[in-house]
Symmetry: C2
Subunit: 209 residues, 2 copies
Amino acid sequence: MKIRYPNGKKYEPVQEVKHSKKINPSFSNRGKSLEDELNESNEFYLSRSIAVIHKKPVPIQVVNVNYPSRSAAKITEAYFRTPSTTDFNGVWNGKYIDFEAKETKSTTSFPLQNIHAHQVEHMKSVSAQGGIAFLIIKFISLDRYFLSPYDIFKDYWDRMTKGGRKSITLSEFETTSIEIKPGFMPRLDYLKIVSNFYEIADVNNERQE
Amino acid sequence: MKIRYPNGKKYEPVQEVKHSKKINPSFSNRGKSLEDELNESNEFYLSRSIAVIHKKPVPIQVVNVNYPSRSAAKITEAYFRTPSTTDFNGVWNGKYIDFEAKETKSTTSFPLQNIHAHQVEHMKSVSAQGGIAFLIIKFISLDRYFLSPYDIFKDYWDRMTKGGRKSITLSEFETTSIEIKPGFMPRLDYLKIVSNFYEIADVNNERQE
């Protein structure tokens, strides 16, 4: 069964099951959701003491709960809420990491309507506090992944809010974002990208100072 | 209506309502939950660009959803899950902040059964990554609040796992933790405590180096 948000985003209840089955150690990751791939990568980082990064639970407004005797409390009425922050956050080498992950079926561009204005506001606040904020975008059909640092992403967001195009094209990702080449362990080594990118940024900042 | 976790913890659905009413600007905070007090403090920090710290949503396993036409998706079967991390996290001055907040009705000690082993494990991992992990404990009847850094808390946790007492006494909090004196804006200025504590810790570390 597929559960959908009001916005049409697929919701995968399997990821929310506490005692879910072990992940199939198949080498093929085709068909896996970006969230699964990132959760696996984060488990790898955690197991190797590389970073502590988790997906936040989906925000749900609980309205009604039943308490059957001798069994767990059962929520009988609840609604999905719009997230006010990003999907993932945590700590890596003393640095605060915060990012949103989105998939698109488009083969040519990423529609910005997939991102909420308050999420962009959140990433802005995180950056202002010295945190590292970015987006990870997956082009499903192309099996390609891009990491877009907030400082780069915000230019495209601003372009839209000023009446410009409502998406970021694939070629814009290719020229201004960093491509994550999927591997095996971890599936998506996005921290390697972050490391390279922010070291360069640090060097540039130091030069400017 | 009060909703309870399987473990008996009260759940306050009002805090999960998206368009909840504005907080009553009464000067009296008696009766407010610790979670409310911390959310208010975090809103203050965010509004003044002091820090970006949020409570994570309550983890819920969704089993069944209905899609009535012309209205929002309605979750009709779901269950509370045990949180695998702590309640609050975020970024402050480039530092990663991560903490668990707990209340107790006891006037003499804080029962350690309120904390899950995997939460302690999480705080350990966070500390190892250079994050700042701590607990905030409220003695409801006494209207007293303590901040216990993970490095101090873990000694009491270890005492329990070695067969010692299953709680931290009030006098132990008074001597080894830092008391947060509630104020008005923000209600609980816990980052001031963190700032003082970790500056001292940094100085001590530098001396040792």
